[in-house]
């Protein structure tokens, strides 16, 4: 009977467990969870603060998940060292766990730049884990002035989550636009305007030069008084375990299409892993939830002796702020085609006859058809792309393709 060990208890870990169990129903699975919570949906912490979900509904899997999958979860424990020749992992309480197949699903941690005076700030918070959200919640007051450092996905979702529960919110970012990792300048301007219309203030292209207890002095010289500080600058992959065992690590733990690291018998999945990104044709950390699950599942299947590969991963995001939905996918590479409609803006990036990426603001109906054009590498010459730019529709495909999609088991 195989002994499986999973380090981490997030989405990638669930994918790993479910992947293992799709092949091997008897092997012994142990999960090491640093957080003391049963697996929950991390991206929902902003919705929790907004009141759109609660601790019960945030559970990523039902309460009987561990029991049904026959896995033992060790809560409040951290893995500190991997010995790949002895095939053991040492935990922070001194215990040593043996394994036959190991998956490292350790996620990422917030990156905090060395801001001058940061230690003087008493009310400072991260925004990554449920405990972060619960800590921030206890500090929220109707008059609180909040400064959020970082106008990326995490910082802005945090802003939306707390907007109705605080006095004011200022968001600053070194980048000159919001959501700089997923939006181009024009689209970012549209979103920023919408966010400002919902009460957020921005200081962009500016960074904190110095903190005092309740004030930030910006590089520009501006002074921003605040009661609560949220740090959402960015994240770093947790790679130490594999790095310590001599595994290949760049910005994440390098994995192949089967999620194998360069250390024999050791797999990695999720935000800690740097797998193949089909949109750029090279390895990259794709820190999004669907990718964490899919990588985990791929790892699990292979750990259990099955055969799975993840070859079509691309970055993609569906995210909404105050009722405005955005979707992005792929690489913004090639010729840009824009469609403006009453409901919003669509931008498509086309290169060598293929859709490479898109940005949709406000118009998101049936967007998965666009995503499939990228992921499945469907030549645009074979579909009616002029039609589909306006409305995502299955009408763009040939009758024969539609017969397969809607007339047979898929």
């Amino acid at each position: 009977m195989k002994r499986y060990l999973v380090i981490g208890n997030g989405t990638a870990a669930v994918g790993t467990v479910e992947g293992i169990r799709s092949i091997d129903v008897t092997g012994e699975i142990t999960v090491v969870s640093e957080e003391k919570h049963a697996v929950y949906s991390r991206p929902l912490i902003s919705y929790y603060l907004e009141g759109k979900t609660d601790l019960e509904r945030m559970k990523y899997r039902p309460d009987d998940f561990c029991e049904k999958n026959g896995c033992r979860t060790l809560y409040g424990r951290r893995a500190v060292a991997l010995d790949s020749s002895a095939k053991t992992v040492a935990l922070d309480d001194g215990s040593v766990l043996p394994y036959d197949e190991l998956c490292v699903a350790t996620g990422s941690r917030p990156f905090v730049p060395p801001f001058e005076g940061l230690e003087k700030v008493k009310n400072k918070f991260g925004f990554m884990t449920l405990d972060d959200a619960l800590a921030l919640e206890t500090a929220l007051t109707q008059n609180a002035r909040v400064l959020i450092v970082g106008a990326g996905l995490i910082g802005l979702k945090c802003a939306e989550g707390i907007a109705r529960r605080v006095g004011s919110i200022t968001v600053c970012d070194l980048a000159d636009r919001v959501l700089s990792s997923i939006l181009d300048a024009e689209c970012a301007a549209v979103v920023q305007k919408h966010l400002e219309g919902n009460g957020l203030s921005f200081l962009l292209g500016d960074t904190v030069a110095r903190f005092d207890e309740n004030e930030a002095t910006m590089k520009s010289g501006k002074k921003v008084p605040f009661d609560l500080l949220v740090l959402a600058v960015g994240v770093r992959a947790n790679t130490d375990l594999v790095k310590g065992a001599g595994g290949n690590v760049n910005r994440g733990i390098v994995v192949d299409e089967k999620m194998r690291t360069t250390v024999p018998g050791v797999y990695a999945a999720g935000d800690c892993a740097e797998g193949f990104d089909a949109s750029i044709g090279q390895n990259r950390v794709i820190a999004i939830l669907p990718n964490a699950y899919l990588q985990g599942r791929t790892a699990g299947i292979n750990m259990a002796g099955g055969d799975a590969a993840q070859t079509d991963a691309i970055p993609m995001n569906a995210i909404g702020f105050f009722g405005l939905h955005l979707m992005t996918a792929g690489a913004y590479d090639g010729e840009m085609n824009e469609e403006k409609t009453d409901g919003g803006v669509k931008r498509f990036f086309v290169k060598d006859g293929f859709l490479r990426g898109f940005i949709l603001i406000g118009e998101t109906e049936r967007a998965g058809i666009y995503t499939s054009l990228i992921r499945e590498k469907i030549p645009l010459g074979s579909v009616d792309f002029d039609l589909t730019k306006k409305v995502a529709s299955n009408l763009i495909f040939s009758r024969e393709t539609r017969r397969k999609k809607f007339g047979s088991v898929v």
Binding site: R57, P290, L294, A318, G320, N394, V409
Partner: protein
């Protein structure tokens, strides 16, 4: 298992499937009361132009990307049927971004809804199929999943 399949050659583009779907999932007894003068949110929709029309609903596919991608763990597949727990859904639309068939759409309250084959409402079998006047959608066995 039985699924809903489309014979697009026979589709009249009448949109009756959309109305029957919305009615079946309204939980109400009177169709006029349930739908009249209301914006409907059916779980099947008719696409097409002036020449070709066809109905699109969930394929309950063997590799459901929506299940694997849902950030809330709200979508699951049981006994071949892909289901959504709307109390867990936060309306982020990630499932819309990944479904290659364009089969999911938000309901009236912004949470997602999808075809669950009418297995858990009063119909017990897809109302869109029962009400289709030209057998352009059928509910039948066409082979097993891979």
């Amino acid at each position: 298992m039985k699924r809903v399949y489309v014979n697009e050659e026979w589709c009249l583009g009448c949109h009756l499937c959309e109305y029957n779907c919305a009615f079946a999932n309204s939980g109400l007894k009177d169709m006029a009361f349930a739908l009249k003068d209301k914006k409907i949110f059916p779980r099947i929709h008719v696409e097409g132009d002036d020449k070709i029309t066809f109905a699109v609903s969930c394929r309950h596919c063997s590799d459901p990307l929506c299940v694997k991608s849902c950030i809330a763990g709200a979508i699951s597949k049981k006994d071949g049927v892909v289901k959504i727990d709307r109390t867990k859904c936060v309306g982020c639309l990630t499932c819309v971004l990944v479904c290659p068939y364009g089969a999911l759409a938000p309901g009236e309250n912004g949470t997602m809804q999808k075809c669950e084959l009418c297995l858990e409402n009063a119909c017990g079998a897809p109302a869109c199929v029962t009400g289709c006047p030209n057998r352009a959608i059928v509910y039948e066995e066409r082979g097993d999943e891979e």
